[in-house]
Amino acid sequence: MASHDVEATAPVLLELQEITKRFPGVLANDRISLSVREGEIHALVGENGAGKTTLMNILYGLDQPDGGRVVWRGRAVVVRGPGTALRLGVGMVHQHFMLLPPFTVLENVILGAEPARAGVVALREARARVARLADQYGLDLDLDARVEALSVGEQQRVEILKALYRGAQLLILDEPTAVLVPQEVRELFRNLRRLRDQGRTIIFISHKLDEVLEIAGRITVLRRGRVIDTVEAPRAGPAMLAELMVGRPVLMNVSRSPAPPGAARLEVRGLSVEGAGGRLRVRDVSFSVRAGEIYAIAGVQGNGQTELVESIVGLRAAAAGRILVAGRDVTALSVAARRAAGLAHIPEDRHRLGLVLPMSARENLILGHHRRAAFTGGLLLDDRAVDRFAAARCREYDIRLAGRATPALALSGGNQQRLVVAREFAFTPIVLIAAQPTRGLDVGATEFVYRTLQRIKAQGLAVLLVSVDLEEVLALADRIAVLYNGRIAGEFRREDADAAALGLYMTGGGPPAEPAVP
């Protein structure tokens, strides 16, 4: 590979030497050394809590290291804040965009660095510069479009353009693909390659290994605050990287056990649901999930998944149709009554819907179960019963807590999800709704969720898996429905489904499909 040979001889742009950062009780970065060559795409991978974000915050001046040096173009520098970083030529594209939605693309790009003549923004001059940059790097954007009207992928391009406009030689992208659909990821990768080919340097933070292998020249693996290894991408494979990240071999492919057809436990009949603003987001959807089956709803984010899930669990009223749990019509019941009827829910946004972050882990473990007889002594909560329950759950699901009062927000993402899973599997539910259950999780935690879903399926639960991750759907599901524009565009048995066909339905193509009988 010619380009890699060129990179190997390219001068070193940035060198981090023995960077150490200590937080109370945690060694976030432990003597991290890393060198980034000019014109390479350098990936930084590691589980949640491995120290990636801390390291980049130090580089961008948001945190100061307790030890070590940052060397930029051969010169030791102190990065006091983002201002210093920008002057050096370090730009950051955050996971959550920092844009003003009502402003146009052009206004957002120049905001804070507007060229001015006599106090008046020189818009024409700015436009010419921005347009030239966008053109040079193939960033396809309408400069006069309002940012609020743009797709997530386009907004990300605005962020990249913003960094380039400020003269960034080194771009740091923090989990840039977490918010993108597959097509947008391809577009982003095209942009990144073009940036690299024209001499810009990129640090790409991720824990999606296949993407890292595709885009990066070299990959540095962090684990528990240390650099485990830096490898050349062509010599690495997903299994090897996963093992480096987690510290032990990881089972990437869960063996799927075939589902013996059981009785229908969740039945959705002719369901229509309105979204915000009164628009129908789910239209006449019917399906049923059987005991011992994982039924997956695939589709690109924003095709009605959120409304469908909220309606099934009782957070959003149905405009039409019926929902049955174990044969019982729950359409008119409250969330609490549906939970009592055997419905469990792993929400897609665990920070918003799954946890009360300031409350302790043990209090979060009984959320939704707190009215059960097991926890009540009269009007009061039985503290000892809660403690016993929480301790047992933490043991079974390997949730590590610093203390009894540890708030949920002090837990890692993986531990938070374990907590939600541990809670929702308690008191033997009949139907589990798992919405994006592995979003934001690292390899180890994802593996845990996959294995747990397989286990409860074997125990006879009916699982509705809603996921935008096609690989996840194909790895876990027994039957797959594709949700497109609020309708079920097609339903397949796993044996009859492949990524290409599902992808076609996900984008609105494909002939209307017959229902798949399990």
């Binding site: 937080f23 109370p24 009780g25 945690v26 976030a28 809590g49 974000t53 801390t54 669990v313 009782g314 957070l315 409250s334 969330v335 609490a336 009554a337 549906r338 939970r339 829910h345 929400p347 918003r352 819907l353 799954g354 946890l355 009360v356 972050l357 300031p358 409350m359 209090e363 959320l367 939704g368 707190h370 009215r371 926890f375 009540t376 009007l379 009061l380 909560l381 503290d383 610093a402 203390g403 009062a405 540890t406 708030p407 927000l409 002090a410 837990l411 890692s412």
Partner: protein, 362 residues
């Protein structure tokens, strides 16, 4: 930092605020050519006297009720600014039960009056609570409006029931309450225990009721199932909803309870001091209750020291006015500065705590 350390930082915040308030008040005292140390020393000495202690406890009593009423609402993000109107209506309802009912034993009479006061507060909070629940009307607007209505409606009704046997005097007040409607004084008990409270003090058993209520509310919010739901609903409403907790209903219930507690604010004055309701019945206790709840960070037990602090400053203001010829407005400024300092200090501490927590997560 461990959770214990965080708690310590949070607990220290009100003290930092009070200290900052003291500094700014010192600057004002300096500006009027007095020695702040001397003024504060005088205030401290004056407030040590038994009569002052009794006065502080007496003025803290309604503030504990007002602080509790406010905190109960604020705990679930219901900003009941209408404690003012609710206690005014509650006090008037109580006075109707006080002079309207005669020849019953004191225990029964007092119980009926307390119930009437709570019902009065409940009646006045009912309208904004229902408007919020059914129509989503914001409680800050509706409760403020209800305050204005309360004052004028009560004045009108007072005109209807006023004592007409007062001859030519211009006083407008209800008939005097019978002895069965008087709350017994705390003085005999405290003096028997060795205190030397002067006989003119109106310190009465509503102090005990206020303390007990604070304790009950605290325990109930901390340990009961409902209290658990209240905390979850306040800290993350969407997650509480997803767990089957009816957040709107909890807010509704707490809104009503806030109003019922507000009904009790005026009783200590009404049944322990005046013995009638007149057009000069004290106003403004509801608004002070907001300051008390703010200083207490909406903690039911924290309301007690917060109310005592305001009682302390109030009494101290009388002292320095009388003996140091420092106008009592200086203390009013001090109170206001403390409240401002609290808001600022909580914001700063909040940021600090968030930063610490972020580091814990990283």
């Amino acid at each position: 930092m461990r959770p214990g350390g965080l708690l310590l930082v949070q607990a220290a915040t009100p003290m930092v605020a009070v200290f900052a308030g003291g500094l700014i008040a010192s600057a004002i005292i300096l500006a009027i050519h007095e020695n702040p140390l001397r003024v504060f020393a005088l205030m401290a000495a004056f407030n040590m006297q038994p009569s002052s202690v009794a006065s502080i406890l007496t003025s803290a009593t309604p503030l504990i009720f007002a602080g509790l009423a406010t905190a109960i609402g604020f705990r679930v993000n219901v900003f009941n600014i209408g404690v003012e109107g609710q206690y005014y209506v509650g006090a008037f309802a109580a006075s109707l039960a006080a002079f309207g009912l005669r020849g019953v034993p004191a225990a029964l009479h007092l119980t009926v009056i307390v119930a009437a006061a709570m019902l009065g507060g409940l009646l006045w909070v009912w309208v904004p609570a229902v408007l919020k629940r059914r129509r989503g009307a914001h409680e800050v607007i509706t409760t403020i409006m209800m305050n204005y209505i309360a004052f004028n409606v009560v004045l009108y009704l007072l005109g209807l029931v006023r004592d007409r046997n007062l001859g030519s005097t211009a006083r407008i007040r209800t008939p005097l309450f019978p002895p069965s409607a008087q709350m017994p004084r705390l003085t005999p008990l405290l003096n028997a225990l060795g205190a030397s409270i002067p006989s003119y003090s109106t310190l009465n058993w509503f102090l005990g009721i206020a303390l007990a209520l604070a304790l009950v509310v605290w325990f109930w919010l901390r340990r009961s199932r409902f209290g658990y739901e209240v905390r979850a609903a306040a800290l993350n409403a969407p997650a509480a909803e997803a767990a089957g907790i009816n957040v709107a209903q909890i807010q509704f219930v707490m809104f009503l309870l806030s109003g019922a507690a507000a009904g009790l604010v005026g009783l200590s004055d009404l049944l322990g001091r005046t013995g009638y309701f007149d057009i000069d019945f004290p106003k403004g206790l509801g608004f002070l209750g907001i300051s008390v709840a703010l200083l207490a960070r909406n903690d039911p037990l924290g309301v007690i020291p917060a109310a005592l602090l305001f009682g302390y400053l109030d009494r101290g203001a009388e002292g320095i006015q009388a003996f140091a010829s420092v106008p009592r407005e200086v203390i009013t400024i001090l109170e206001a500065v403390i409240i401002l300092a609290i808001v600022v200090a909580y914001e700063i501490m909040g940021r600090y705590v968030r930063a610490l927590r972020k580091q814990e997560v990283a």
